[in-house]
Amino acid sequence: MTGEQIVFLVVAFFTLAAGFMVVTTRNLVHAALWLVAALFGVAVTYVTLHANFLAVVQVVVYIGAIAILFIFAVMLTRRDMRDQGPQMNKNWWLGALLAVLTFGGLYFLLQGWEGMTKTATSYPVSFDAISELGSALVSPVGYVLPFEVASVLLVAALVGAVYVAFNPRNGDTRK
């Protein structure tokens, strides 16, 4: 067992445990903080895959923006479900069964695939993945169209989010 494998196993178990806490903790603020822990674990996984830019974006966008947005939303909607009442719906066992079946099915499918045991070729020494990624994102023969569509989607979604959540101070006219 090499050092890389030990690092991967530790990070993977930590991430899965944090993810499990996200879906089972009663207190939603704690669930959001466990989500931050799980996202950090995924960022370390990107580092083990040499995807350095993705790791940085994971920390900046997911932990810096999305997780903080979650914590704000939890605090804004906290009043009625704090500590009383069940946190799971009454068919939670069906959800657990489906999740286990999904994992089993994926595992079964992956076992039958011959690329499963593939190991990585050694990483090229003088390969600059970030500049390659940058030119792939903006080159016309690359992915400029999906990139622009994603940016338009993001702008539209944020404008829509502001409109939906906007609360005019003198009386909400949409009531």
Binding site: Q5, T15, L16, G19, V22, V23, A31, A38, L39, V42, T45, T48, L49, A51, L54, V57, Q58, V61, I66, L69, F70, A73, V74, T77, D80, M81, P86, M88, N89, W92, G95, A96, L98, A99, T102, F103, Y107, L110, G115, K118, T119, A120, Y123, F127, A129, E132, L133, L137, G142, P146, F147, S151, L153, A157, L158, G160, A161, V162, V164, A165
Partner: protein, 102 residues
């Protein structure tokens, strides 16, 4: 070196945990937390396939970045809807949000 299978099994497990959260939690914000876990599992797969294929083809990383953008859009709209519903109905339980108009 870590074999590809470890990453794929790890991502499948994370996806299943997120799916359990989506299917079982009553709170709408907790459902969105589960969706975040599922999107992260997909991103691990994309990055792993990029690394274990030809690293000069950047498709995997490009689509991981597009998944980041879509996740940010989804969270912004989802949380805005939850906050709006909470302001009008004083509930965030997904079971009780069953009206188109009130």
């Amino acid at each position: 070196m870590v074999p590809l299978s470890w990453y794929l099994v790890f991502a499948a497990a994370l996806f299943s945990i997120g799916m359990f959260g989506v299917l079982s939690r009553r709170n709408a914000v907790a459902i969105l937390l589960g969706i975040e876990l599922m999107l992260n599992a997909v991103n691990i797969n994309l990055a792993a396939f990029w690394r274990y294929g030809d690293v000069r083809l950047m498709t995997g990383q490009v689509f991981a970045i597009i998944v980041f953008a879509v996740a940010a859009a989804e969270v912004a709209v989802g949380l805005a809807l939850v906050i709006s519903v909470y302001r009008n109905r004083h509930t965030v339980v997904a079971d009780e949000i069953d009206m188109l108009k009130w």
